[in-house]
C-alpha cells in the first residue's frame, strides 16, 4: 500500500464537506453540497441516485475534471491524506491516472476513435514515467489487456477502437484505468450501456481485480441491483446531497430514508408478474430550483410540515447515517 508524501490516513479517499458549483448568470448554483465520503483500501462503495443527483459530478470533482463553468468551491478531497484542492496542477496531473483513475459510462465514446489502442495505453504509462523502457511499457499494456479478458492481447494492441465491441471497449478502458495500479478507481456507470450478461462479467472482473490489488473502488450507478452484487457500503445521493449511508445489507433490508425505500421498491424483480411497477412520483428538481428544507419532501409519501426545515445527515444506528426529519421506523418497513 502506498503512503502519501504529506501524511498518513486510514482511508484511501476522504471527502469532507465537498461542494461543487456551476457559475451562471444568476450566480453560483451548487450541484453537489456538503458530501462526506470515506473509503478504505480494497473497499467497494456504491454511489447511488437518479440522473441529476450529483453522483457523476462528485466523481469528476474527485478527479479534478470538472470543466468550467463548474468548480469545486468548498471542502477537502483527501487522497491518501493529501488534499487535492491544495496541490498544484502539476501534482494533480501526476496523481490522476496514476494513484486514481476513472472509467466512464459510454465505452463507445471514451476511446479516441482515431488513435490505436497501444497509443492510448502507452501514454497512460509514459505520462507518469517518461523514461520507462518502451518494451517494458508495451508488455505492461499487453498484460493489462489480457488481465481484463481480451483475447490475443499482443495483436489487439494494434487495433483501433472501432474494431472492438462495446463490452470489449469497456474492458480496454478498465485495463487503461488499472495500468498504473491506482489506489482508487471511480467507475461512473461503466456497465449501464452494456447488455446484462456482459455487465455481470465486468462486475465480477472488477470485483476480483480490486480485491487482488487492494484497490478502493467507487461504483457510481442508478441501479441498485448492481450495487447489491458488488458493494459493501452504499451512499444514496439525492439532489446533490447524500441522504443515506450505511452497510449494503442494512440499507437494502431496512432503508431509513423514504427516497432509498422508493429506489428499492422500483426494482422490477420485487413485483408480481403483471403488477404495476412502482415509481417514485415526480422527478429530481433542477439544480437551480431546489425545494426548501428536505429536498425530497415534494415527492415524499410521508411528508409532514416540519420537513420544510433544513435537515442534516445524522447517525442512526451502527454505521448508518440518514438525512431525514422522520426516518422510516421499523413498523413502517415494507417487506
Amino acid at each position: 500500500m502506498m503512503t502519501s508524501m504529506t501524511g498518513r490516513s486510514d482511508y484511501t479517499l476522504e471527502l469532507r464537506g465537498l461542494e461543487t458549483v456551476f457559475d451562471g448568470d444568476k450566480g453560483a448554483i451548487a450541484a453537489v453540497r456538503n458530501v462526506n465520503l470515506a473509503i478504505k483500501p480494497g473497499e467497494i462503495v456504491g454511489l447511488v441516485g437518479e440522473s441529476g443527483s450529483g453522483k457523476s459530478v462528485t466523481g469528476l470533482s474527485i478527479m479534478g475534471l470538472i470543466d468550467r463553468p463548474g468548480r469545486v468551491s468548498k471542502g477537502e478531497i483527501l487522497l491518501n491524506g493529501e488534499d487535492l484542492r491544495k496541490v498544484p496542477a502539476k501534482r494533480l496531473r501526476a496523481l490522476r491516472g496514476d494513484r486514481m483513475a476513472m472509467i466512464f459510462q459510454d465505452p463507445m465514446m471514451t476511446l479516441n476513435p482515431v488513435l490505436r489502442i497501444d497509443t492510448q495505453m502507452m501514454e497512460a504509462i509514459t505520462a507518469h514515467d517518461p523514461k520507462i523502457d518502451k518494451t517494458i511499457a508495451r508488455n505492461r499494456c499487453r498484460d493489462a489487456l489480457g488481465m481484463v479478458g481480451i483475447p490475443d492481447p499482443e495483436e489487439r494492441l494494434y487495433a483501433y477502437p472501432h474494431q472492438f465491441s462495446g463490452g470489449m471497449r469497456q474492458r480496454v478502458a478498465i485495463a487503461i484505468a488499472m495500468l498504473n495500479n491506482p489506489d482508487l478507481i471511480i467507475a461512473d456507470e461503466p456497465t449501464t450501456a452494456l447488455d446484462v450478461t456482459i455487465q455481470a462479467q465486468i462486475i465480477a472482473e472488477m470485483q476480483k481485480l480490486c480485491k487482488e490489488r487492494d484497490t478502493a473502488l467507487i461504483w457510481i450507478t442508478h441501479d441498485l441491483t448492481v450495487v447489491a452484487e458488488l458493494t459493501q457500503r452504499v451512499y444514496v445521493m439525492y439532489a446533490g446531497s447524500v441522504v443515506e449511508e450505511g452497510p449494503l445489507d442494512d440499507i437494502l433490508d431496512r432503508p431509513l430514508h423514504p427516497y432509498t425505500q422508493g429506489l428499492i421498491r422500483s426494482i422490477p424483480s420485487d413485483n408480481e408478474p403483471g403488477a404495476r411497477l412502482f415509481q417514485i412520483p415526480g422527478m429530481t428538481p433542477p439544480i437551480d430550483r431546489m425545494p426548501k428544507g428536505c429536498r425530497f419532501h415534494p415527492r415524499c409519501p410521508y411528508v409532514q410540515l416540519d420537513c420544510l426545515n433544513d435537515v442534516d445527515l445524522v447517525e442512526q444506528g451502527a454505521g448508518r447515517h440518514v438525512r431525514c426529519v422522520h426516518p422510516i421506523s421499523q413498523g413502517e418497513q415494507i417487506s
Partner: protein, 325 residues
C-alpha cells in the same frame, strides 16, 4: 484497391466525355468564332476559306468526332487564335496558376489552423473574438476589392511589395517557379494572400468547430483522466479528430482556388491560366476552352482521389475497397 482505382478511372473518363459534349455544343450554339477573329474588311471568299480550313463548315457531330479522335491520341486541337496546340498553351501557363493556388492553400492551413485552435480552446477570450471577427471579414469582403486595397496599401502607399508579375523565377524540373527567389517571393506574397484570405477564414472556422466539439467529448475527458499533459490532449487527441473534416473541405477548396485564381490573376497581372481562359471565352476559342476544362476536370478528379486516400491515413474507420458503396 486496384478495382477501386479502375472504377474511379472509368468515372473520370465518363465525366470528361459528357463535359466535352456539353461544352462543344454550348460553344457551337453561342456563336461563330470566325465572326470574332476575321477582320471587318475580309472578302466573303476569304471568309469561306477560313471557315473551311477550320472545319467549321461540317455538321457539329462531325466536328465533335474529329475532336474525339484527336483527343484519344492526346491532341486537343489548335487554338483558333494563336494557331498553336491548345494543350501546349495551357501547360505553359499552368505552373504559374498552380503555384499561386498552392501558395494560397499553404497560407490558409499555416495561418488558419493555429488561429482556429486558439479560438476553439478559449472561445471567450478577446483574442479568440478578434480571430472570429477577422474570419467574418475574410468571408464577406469580395476578393477583387481586397486585392485592389492590398495593391493600394502595400504597393502604392507603402511601396514595399510589387503589384504585378511573377518576378524572378527559377526552373525546377523544367518548370519556372517564383517562390524560390526573394524577388519571386515578394511578387507572389500579395496575390497568394489575396487568394488565401477566404481559405484562412474557412480553415479557422472549421478548426474552431472541430476543436470545441472534441474538447467536450468523452474521449478527451478520459485522456485527461489518464494524467497526460494538456499539450498532448490538444495536439494529438483533439487535433487529429479535427483534421477529418478539414481534409474534406480543403480538398474541395483546392479546386475552387484554381478556379477563383482568375480574379486574383487579373488584378495582380499574374501570368496564369486565368487570363488565357478569359481571352479564350471572349474570342470563342473553342479548343482552348475545351482543353482548359478537360485539364481542370482531370485535376479535380486527382485531388478528390488524393483526399479519399488521405482519409484512410487519418481516420482508421475509413476503408477503401473495390466493392459497391
Amino acid at each position: 484497391m486496384t478495382a477501386y482505382l479502375l472504377r474511379r478511372g472509368g468515372q473520370t473518363i465518363l465525366t470528361l466525355l459528357v463535359m466535352s459534349i456539353l461544352v462543344f455544343v454550348g460553344v457551337y450554339l453561342v456563336g461563330n468564332p470566325v465572326d470574332v477573329m476575321i477582320s471587318a474588311t475580309a472578302t466573303p471568299q476569304e471568309r469561306a476559306d477560313l471557315i473551311m480550313r477550320m472545319g467549321l463548315d461540317q455538321p457539329v457531330w462531325v466536328q465533335y468526332w474529329h475532336f474525339l479522335k484527336g483527343a484519344l491520341s492526346g491532341d486537343l486541337g489548335n487554338s483558333f487564335l494563336y494557331n498553336r496546340p491548345a494543350l501546349g498553351l495551357i501547360f505553359e501557363r499552368m505552373p504559374a496558376t498552380l503555384e499561386l493556388a498552392f501558395s494560397a492553400l499553404f497560407m490558409g492551413l499555416v495561418v488558419g489552423i493555429p488561429l482556429g485552435v486558439v479560438a476553439g480552446l478559449r472561445p471567450s477570450r478577446p483574442e479568440s473574438r478578434g480571430i472570429m471577427a477577422f474570419s467574418i471579414l475574410g468571408f464577406s469582403l469580395p476578393t477583387f476589392w481586397v486585392g485592389l486595397m492590398m495593391i493600394l496599401l502595400f504597393a502604392v502607399k507603402l511601396d514595399i511589395l510589387p503589384a504585378s508579375g511573377r518576378g524572378e523565377t527559377v526552373d525546377v524540373l523544367g518548370v519556372p517557379v517564383s517562390f524560390l527567389t526573394l524577388d519571386g517571393l515578394s511578387h507572389i506574397f500579395l496575390p497568394a494572400l489575396n487568394l488565401a484570405l477566404f481559405k484562412i477564414s474557412l480553415v479557422i472556422r472549421l478548426t474552431r468547430a472541430g476543436v470545441s466539439e472534441a474538447l467536450q467529448s468523452e474521449y478527451v475527458r478520459f485522456a485527461r483522466a489518464k494524467g497526460i499533459s494538456e499539450w498532448r490532449v490538444v495536439f494529438l487527441h483533439v487535433l487529429k479528430n479535427t483534421l477529418i473534416p478539414l481534409i474534406t473541405v480543403v480538398g474541395l477548396e483546392l479546386g475552387a482556388l484554381i478556379a477563383f485564381a482568375v480574379v486574383t490573376e487579373t488584378i495582380f497581372s499574374w501570368p496564369g491560366m486565368g487570363k488565357l481562359i478569359i481571352d479564350a471565352i471572349t474570342t470563342l476559342d473553342r479548343p482552348v476552352i475545351l482543353a482548359y476544362l478537360m485539364i481542370t476536370v482531370l485535376m479535380f478528379t486527382v485531388i478528390n482521389l488524393i483526399v479519399d486516400l488521405a482519409y484512410t491515413l487519418v481516420d482508421p474507420r475509413v476503408k477503401i475497397d473495390g466493392g459497391s458503396e
